[in-house]
Symmetry: C2
Subunit: 219 residues, 2 copies
């Protein structure tokens, strides 16, 4: 995917600004599990996803992880360039969740173009508002929804993401996504199995009644 | 407070842009309890706080409230103008928590100035990153910290805010701030009282051992 296609405001940049972004951007590939950005320790730049999936997450002092949002084809990860925002006082890490190809735009170049382009600066605000929406959704999930509904919802999302009804995912991994304990996930999955909604096997979870899972998730 | 003092980038605006913002801004006062902005139902504009305090909060489908962040003197509330951000898909409400005076800048005027000023547009991103940091802090509080620590932390913050060791606040109100049930708050307060950290009376909570509350909050 062309770099320009990530920026609906590309035509509002001057040829010099377009060249500055295009010249500095690097196309990279990385396998599943690669840590792309580790909280405030580094500032790799903006990541524009061509294929695969990235996962942005936070980590507790004890090392527990919670997924904040996921980024797919056509999404831009802004917080891997959070050094360009003085007011960004938080540590979000990013890793490759499904083998990915992406553009990296260095933070200093992006910042310098945005300093002279209102169009790019306003687009940055839109990107942030979009991630803000993701996080507010998560806050609402955590506050208002019980773990069982969140798990049902997670299984359905994961099935769509993996394009399969049989999920190759560990209970530990689900717990990391949901920010809960593995024991809680295992207990709920067994309950779902008892209700005939899933079938558990070594290393996999098969969804066998998606309609009921959906009803459960939306309750 | 002058409108210009809210914008560190004021000098980077043209005289025409400065005049456009200054002409459209209205100075208002509102008593405690006034609802300034009700989710996505309205778009009152940016609120620049001169004095007092505002509270931004979300509401569950059942009407339960949780404070997302608070805004004091010199702070700007951006999400009361969220209609200017297409990607802002969430409902944050705002109310006056302590009698307040504030500037209202209409969303359409602000947006039109930002469309031609990279400085203002970049400043908008900084404002958003700052609120994003508040929300990420909240997420971490909810995910990693237990209710008892959050309550200890809340009591200390509230005491600093009210500039008093005796807080005039109901258990219901604390529960609304923390997004928990009143019963949980009452139970924890009684426990704190038993430990000699607070003294409960009709309608008030007196902090009598702030050092221990602080240790508890930071544990």
């Amino acid at each position: 995917m062309e770099l320009s296609s990530y920026f609906p405001i590309w035509d509002q940049l001057t040829p010099a600004q377009q060249a500055q972004l295009a010249r500095s951007a690097r196309l990279r590939t990385a396998p599943r599990g690669t840590l792309l950005h580790n909280g405030s320790e580094d500032c790799v730049g903006l990541l524009a996803v061509c294929s695969g999936a990235l996962r942005a997450f936070i980590r507790s002092p004890e090392g527990r992880e919670v997924t904040i949002y996921r980024l797919f084809e056509r999404d831009i990860c802004l917080f891997s360039a959070s050094c360009m925002l003085k007011s960004a006082q938080f540590d979000v890490s990013a890793e490759v969740e499904r083998d990915a190809q992406f553009w990296i735009i260095p933070a200093d170049i992006y910042q310098s173009v945005a300093a002279s382009s209102a169009a790019l600066a306003n687009y940055t605000s839109e990107l942030m508002a979009s991630r803000f929406s993701d996080v507010m959704w998560l806050v609402e999930q955590i506050l208002w929804r019980s773990q069982d509904r969140r798990l049902a919802s997670f299984l359905l999302d994961e099935s769509a993401l993996q394009e399969s009804r049989t999920l190759a995912i560990t209970h530990d991994r689900i717990a990391a996504h949901m920010g809960t304990a593995r024991e809680v996930v295992t207990r709920l999955l067994r309950y779902f199995q008892g209700e005939g909604m899933v079938r558990l096997a070594r290393g996999t979870i098969e969804l066998i009644d998606e309609d009921r899972l959906r009803a459960w998730a939306e309750e």
